[in-house]
Amino acid sequence: MPSYVFQFGPILIRSEELIHGAWLTIWFASVSMVLGLAIGILGAVARSFGPRWLSSLVAAYVELIRNTPLLIQLYFVFFTLPFLGLKLSSSAAAILALSIHLGAYATEIMRAGIQSIPSGQIEAAKSLGLKPYKIIRHIVLLQALRAIYPALCGQFILQLLGTSIISAIAAEELTAIANNMVMQTFRSFEVYIVVAIIYFILVQAFSLLFQGFSRFFFRWKT
């Protein structure tokens, strides 16, 4: 068996670049999570309570995005939209594609949550004279969010890991920086080990954060 001598030195010397890359990954993930969740909530509400045309429009959006790969969506936003007159930078294109991508999944997840609310609760709220906006906000959304929170967190984690492919449109993040390092040091084994550990730590940190959110927001007893 050929022996391989690990040399982490040339990588650890450049840990500053890796930390910078990790920050970029966190940034792309966080911004797209916030935007994606916003799209998801609006989409699910429109799908469940909106007029028929809006509901079908959202359904078409969800199907379109969920049945095509993220990579193709990235290419489409970055390489094809300029021909239609919309030229976005690498980062902006990445954020747009990531948010639209997550938005479709979040819409479906939120819709499941909304469906889990017993219709009796909505009827009771109506008979109490609550305005539709208040019913959706206080009765439907909060409970729905709580019900689907674990599924949503899972999707968020996938989103965090999914940012690793945005280097395909020359956006800089952890994986792109790792690939630069591999090309310069030829220590691919070591670089990818270090980067895998960083991703692992990031996911753990995000999971902890999500747990903290859930303790804070969903304090009421069921």
Binding site: Y75, F79, P82, S167, A168, A170, A176, N179, V182, M183
Partner: protein, 272 residues
């Protein structure tokens, strides 16, 4: 005294016999040291790489083709012997010579000083430049003109190193690294980047920019010169190769090959 002598002689004979045995047992290796050796053996063994279009590739009939392959066939024709091709990858080029698997390496073998410690290079028979490419109308002549512009390149290529250095020296050059040449091309064609680092030939010159312009080479970053690699210490073969390349250069054959495969003239080929 005499006994010691005898013992040495016997040991020497034994060693000779052993090595002779080993030599005959080993597969027949090409160890031509002169042009005459090659001719009397009746074939010249040339290492090529068929994964480096347009220099080395496989044609529709599954035969090796390309600039390097045609040039290698010319070598065989000039020596009056058939060419036997051995396929190598780029890290396998020097070992192919050192282990006697080939007489010559003709495979976009850039002439560099570290490589010259291990093999001898002929004078260059071809060359290729890493260049900056942009649409015709854009006024780019040097690194300074790239400041404030987006410059695309393929991660880990020669252009990457050269332009990354340039970006350090000229703050304001925005570098976008793509994972492959196809993405880089697409970014250039869609106008996502203002300029790109690439070769002096390639698909980019056949494309049009988003406003219908042709692309052209703006300036040269660095030129790589390709020589024929041979084992060190065979001055006869080296001298013949240099003479042969000189004649091909003079009669325009190399230029014709460049136009045929690269669609662009060769850079001036210096000699050493």
């Amino acid at each position: 005294m005499f006994k010691a002598r005898l013992r040495t002689v016997v040991a020497g004979c034994a060693a000779l016999a052993m090595s002779a045995l080993l030599l005959t047992a080993a597969p027949q290796k090409a160890a031509a040291e002169t042009v005459d050796d090659i001719i009397s053996r009746g074939k010249v063994i040339i290492a090529i790489d068929t994964t480096t279009p347009p220099y080395g590739m496989i044609d529709e009939e599954f035969q090796p083709a390309g600039f390097d392959i045609e040039f290698a066939k010319l070598i065989g024709a000039a020596l009056g012997v058939p060419v036997e091709f051995v396929t190598v990858t780029s890290p396998g080029r020097i070992p192919a010579l050192l282990t006697n698997r080939a007489d010559m390496v003709v495979s976009i073998f850039s002439i560099t000083a570290p490589r010259a410690l291990q093999v001898n290079f002929s004078i260059p028979y071809a060359g290729q430049s890493a260049v900056v490419i942009a649409p015709k109308s854009s006024n780019i002549k040097s690194h300074a003109d790239l400041v404030g512009k987006k410059v695309g390149l393929t991660r880990g290529t020669g252009e990457d190193g050269l332009l990354t250095e340039a970006a350090k020296a000229n703050p304001g050059i925005e570098i976008l690294r793509f994972d492959d040449y196809a993405s880089l091309l697409q970014a250039m064609v869609s106008g996502q980047i203002d300029a790109m680092g690439g070769g002096d030939y390639g698909d980019i010159y056949l494309k049009k920019s988003s406003n219908g312009e042709d692309f052209e080479m703006k300036y040269i970053l660095k030129t790589f010169y390709f020589g024929v690699g041979i084992r060190r210490g065979n001055p006869d073969i080296l001298q013949w190769l240099n003479t042969f390349i000189f004649t091909l250069k003079q009669d325009g054959t190399l230029e014709r090959l460049s136009q045929k495969y690269r669609n662009t003239p060769l850079p001036p080929l210096p000699v050493f």
